[in-house]
Symmetry: C2
Subunit: 160 residues, 2 copies
């Protein structure tokens, strides 16, 4: 039994080291994407994320749906959509029958801009994950599902 406890202890340290490495890797990739978005396109990751979400829903998303989907605060989305709207990339559309709500949608200009961004984004990721085979990816994907499952359980547990 002493051996088991010792192994558990070692596993805990091993997991911690992996987490730190994982965080470093992901932060590094994210930093490069932010850099590319800024230097090559004059935009930012939060703006890209909002446009990406809206691109998936051509009929638009309510502000609250957007913030839930992106897992950021309502107030945060307000500011980003404000900017994108000023630039003519996003449009706020009134929801018929509910004067409280508004739907944010990409304009044609916004859609075109996003498609350009998305194509480059995919290329960047492809280069950054160079050397990852389909098998590598499948293996990691199933491990990540464990983490995501845990997270979605927690969410529903925290729901009021």
């Amino acid at each position: 039994m002493a051996e088991t406890a010792a192994k558990q202890e070692a596993l805990s340290k091993t997991r911690l080291r992996l987490w730190l490495k994982l965080l470093k890797s992901v932060n590094g990739i994210e930093a490069e994407i932010r850099r590319n978005l800024r230097d090559q396109h004059g935009t930012t990751l939060p703006r890209f994320d909002v446009m990406s979400a809206l691109a998936r829903f051509p009929d638009g998303l309510k502000m609250s749906e957007l913030s839930t989907f992106l897992k950021v605060s309502n107030g945060n989305v307000t500011g980003i959509v404000d900017k994108l709207t000023e630039e003519g990339l996003v449009l706020r559309v009134a929801v018929p029958g509910d004067r409280r709500a508004q739907v944010a949608r990409l304009t044609p200009k916004g859609k075109a801009a996003f498609e350009e961004l998305a194509a480059n984004h995919e290329t960047w990721i492809d280069e950054l994950l160079e050397g990852w085979s389909a098998d590598d990816i499948a293996a990691l994907s199933t491990r990540l599902d464990l983490v995501l499952k845990r997270q979605s359980q927690e969410e529903s547990g925290n729901a009021k």
Copy 2:
């Protein structure tokens, strides 16, 4: 050859999907750690990161060493160390022979506070990565080394 191109195309999409899943998982874990630090200890991740770095270097780190190590800006570290200093967790020590530089060190109080945090942190990670075996971790670790190697190469390439 058409098949090869098609496979490449598919791999690119697969990598993109993995990246999105990886990002979601890591962000979820990070969010929980931030929540725990705030709710259980009244502190934040950036503060924990600074204390963690200083804990590894008992003789202290210069402000610039600290920002390089943590990969954040100089100005950022200034503000965080300011706060930690006000609270008596960190000390700024003059560097003999260079009146420009200062070394930040944990105070005994800071060291004790960090050790408490670090122990909990390890437990949180252990729970969040529940189900990850030593073999899983070893496999992922070698894949991540690919990413990290690429990142360190880029850094040295970007050095002036």
